[in-house]
């Protein structure tokens, strides 16, 4: 499997990464080489194998639906790029 520039641009868009034309060409080359390595997986028949998502297959724990954290909004928002009145600021999305 090798990727062309158009596919790289589509992947970059899905990943929310801005890339230039020049970069798209370079990524098409390196990502194709990495996919070449990955395709060694196809050498093995896995049709009767159950996927393993995780080493800990006992499953996830449930916990009480109770408040366990204190409100630290001010502390956490101090490190944000732009906040106002307790809200995170981003460029306008609705005209």
């Amino acid at each position: 499997m090798s990727l062309d520039r158009e596919q790289v641009r589509r992947i970059a868009h899905l990943a929310r990464l801005h890339i230039s034309e020049q970069e798209a060409a370079a990524y098409a080359d390196t990502l194709s080489r990495i996919l070449g390595l990955i395709e060694q997986m196809n050498a093995v028949d896995t049709s009767n194998v159950a996927p393993m998502a995780h080493p800990n297959e006992a499953g996830l724990r449930l916990r009480e639906d109770a408040v366990s954290e204190t409100d630290q909004r001010e502390k956490f928002q101090r490190i944000a790029p732009a906040v106002d009145a307790g809200l995170y600021l981003v460029p306008k999305v609705i005209e």
Binding site: A15, I38, T46, H54, R78, A82, V90
Partner: protein
Amino acid sequence: MFDKTVAELSRALGRKDISSVELTGVFLARINKYKDLNAFITVDPERSLAQARAADARIGKGGAGALAGVPIAQKDIFCADGWRTTCGSKILSNFTAPYDATIIGKFNAAGAVCLGKTNMDEFAMGSSNETSYYGGVKNPWDTAAVPGGSSGGSAAAVAARLSPAATGTDTGGSIRQPSALTNLTGLKPSYGRVSRYGMIAFASSLDQGGPMCRTAEDAALLLNVMAGFDPRDSTSVDAPVPDYTQTLSGDIKGLRIGLPKEYFGAGMNPEVARTIDAAIAECKKLGAQVVEVSLPNSQLAIPCYYVLAPAEASSNLSRFDGVRYGYRAENYTDLLDMYCKTRAEGFGAEVKRRIMIGTYALSAGYYDAYYLKAQKLRRLIAEDFRKAFESCDVIMGPTSPTTAFKIGEKSDDPVAMYLSDIYTISVNLAGLPGMSIPAGFDSKGLPVGLQLIGQYFDEARLLNVAHRYQQATDWHKRMPKGFE
């Protein structure tokens, strides 16, 4: 003082031969003297010395624990309240953590002193520390060579005696491979043994924090503090934690060492092979037996890993959007453009490659062929280990196929770099504990690491075998020239 182990320093502090403030000062001075190694991203002497003063007060009152007053360097992947925490990335260059990772909280509670935040490959993605936004790290054994990665700063710091011990994290070999390349004793615990809360996530089903030290005894002392159930980590395992220092000295007569035939074939440098053979012969002298085992799917570990780790990374790293913390691009036209420019400017080339591979593997139409296929191979790899452990107690082999390579040698070829982790990656896929211990040197004087792999939650046995080996050998005591 700087050449003493954690165990020795702990005793010296307890006897009040030295204060934590003096000791912290000794190491801070060495960090400054050898700053060309670039082992640290952030040092904050005032913060460290304040912790040292508090530790001295505790020691003065009596009853302080083994790590009270001992300086420890923390990999810059662990959030530490009030410390800049960058994860080796530009995107977190202005990030001061507002809370402590669980293990940082545990070290603080034990009275350990945080000596600083160590350099690392960006988001732990690399095997040479060359992907750090803050520059590469030099290997104290050869300053033209890499220290390994991703915990390269921790490795260089401990090897050069800038810190008695450090923490690392290991997703595909990032504790064991740099330990091997710098002559350290590094332990990646079983998945679920050490909390991941506050440890910036790379691949959540593979990541695990652990100690990087000079001896197995020190690794036991650190693991005693780091290990344990944490309700804040949904994958933390609620199992009792033994006192790892209590079983270090047990006899290893009759121990069955499994040697995977796939690990001793082509691909391993002949000098590494000779050193590993000699280390195994030493274990036999200590009473161990050797059996051949097979891990038939081990050659699939790298392709499998380079689907699963990037897939998980692409999801984990979606949180870096320039909205809530970290870097935000200066020029953008709208919200989407702000995300795309922030991430394009904030992430380095290797991180972007992995995000794109992961995004592709998870995208509609490709999920079964890549992600699901890799998860099936993961099962086969884990099964290989289960079968191998039916006839042995520990598995041994090399940690890395070569000794430390030169800076720049592999940095332009991601695929060649990925192959550095051929012997370590399968352990993460299975979730098993693994260790690297000093086993000797090649003809250039570069260290070789012996890898020990154990059954789930059998860290105590790995530490026991490593300790017995270190009592019979002195490789782990060697210090790189120029750092005396």
